[in-house]
Symmetry: C2
Subunit: 156 residues, 2 copies
DNA sequence: CTATTTTTTTATAATAAGTTTAAATCGTTA
DNA sequence: TAACGATTTAAACTTATTATAAAAAAATAG
């Protein structure tokens, strides 16, 4: 658990950036809220609890830096704000999202699922895929009483 | 070509909205730029050419209305603006996008491709899918000289 | 047709997310 | 210690989008 920070620290150093106290506090907040999809403002408020003197601009700069380093992914669910999602270590694809239009919950799909589709796209459209964003909008299992088969697959 | 407007007009009327001159001008701009992914500002500038007295707020309101009516889809490619994309008439799924990280071009994939994936998600995650957003980021066929097989599938 | 009500638009002000700037701080090196 | 580069802070600024109030247009009633 501590080594995760260390690895991020090394990643920063490898690009000659430092892990300042402010950056560390920000990364810790992200690690401690890995399940969530926090906006910059959300992160700011949480970071302030451990480092009350930090400025919002620093949080923005840190998140931007972490995005460049591919430590986090910046996503947008269509409400007016960007959200920051820790990239699963070692995963070679970005996970997918299920956004519930009833309750607003955002669940994650860690399974790839897109392998075949990407092959078709790369060949059919002669497009070299580097990344993807896949979001489904619909009604989550909590919001419709349908047939509740015991959940397969991982989720939230 | 004219009937497309008429059908949108009917859709508006069915919800007791009117196709005002400003709304009509806005819809026409969208129809005439179906290939593009215009921001509200882009639409505003184009609409001004045919209806110079229109206000930006009206364009925003019209686009919001058309989004509600599912005439357009509001999308976000991660630059700070929302873009509006005419929904292909009769298509039961929203098309996908290929964003080139070299030249910025945005190409479209009209093919569904996601049928199997959606089945897996609906069953595995007990999630009732209503809509989706799929975007691939990578290098478009114009930006890498690789093997240029004569294009299959439709694009841009 | 006029008067009245409802819808829509305009112009402008207000918000809110995100970025930039200049001065202060911190860590390191000469 | 002096000097330098990187970073942060606080505040000003920019830009996209929304809200408000008054004017205009359209629909409805008498
Ligand atoms: Mn996520
Ligand atoms: Mn499109
Ligand atoms: Zn739900
Ligand atoms: Zn390209």
């Amino acid at each position: 658990m501590e080594s995760r920070i260390d690895r991020i620290k090394k990643q920063l150093h490898s690009q000659s950036y430092k892990l300042t106290p402010q950056r560390e506090a920000t990364v810790r907040v992200l690690l401690e809220n890995e399940e969530d999809h926090l906006s910059a403002e959300d992160v700011y408020l949480l970071v302030k609890e451990k480092a009350p003197e930090i400025g919002l601009a620093t949080v923005y700069r840190t998140l931007e830096l972490l995005t460049e380093l591919k430590v986090v992914d910046k996503i947008n669910f269509g409400d007016g704000v960007s959200r920051y999602d820790l990239r699963t270590e070692g995963a070679d694809h970005f996970h997918h999202h299920l956004v519930c239009i009833e309750c607003g919950a955002v669940d994650e799909i860690q399974e790839d699922l897109l392998g075949d589709v990407e092959k078709v796209v790369e060949e059919g459209w002669n497009f070299k895929i580097k990344d993807h964003r896949l979001t489904f909008h619909g009604i989550c299992h909590r919001c419709h009483p349908k047939d509740h088969k015991e959940s397969e697959g991982s989720e939230e």
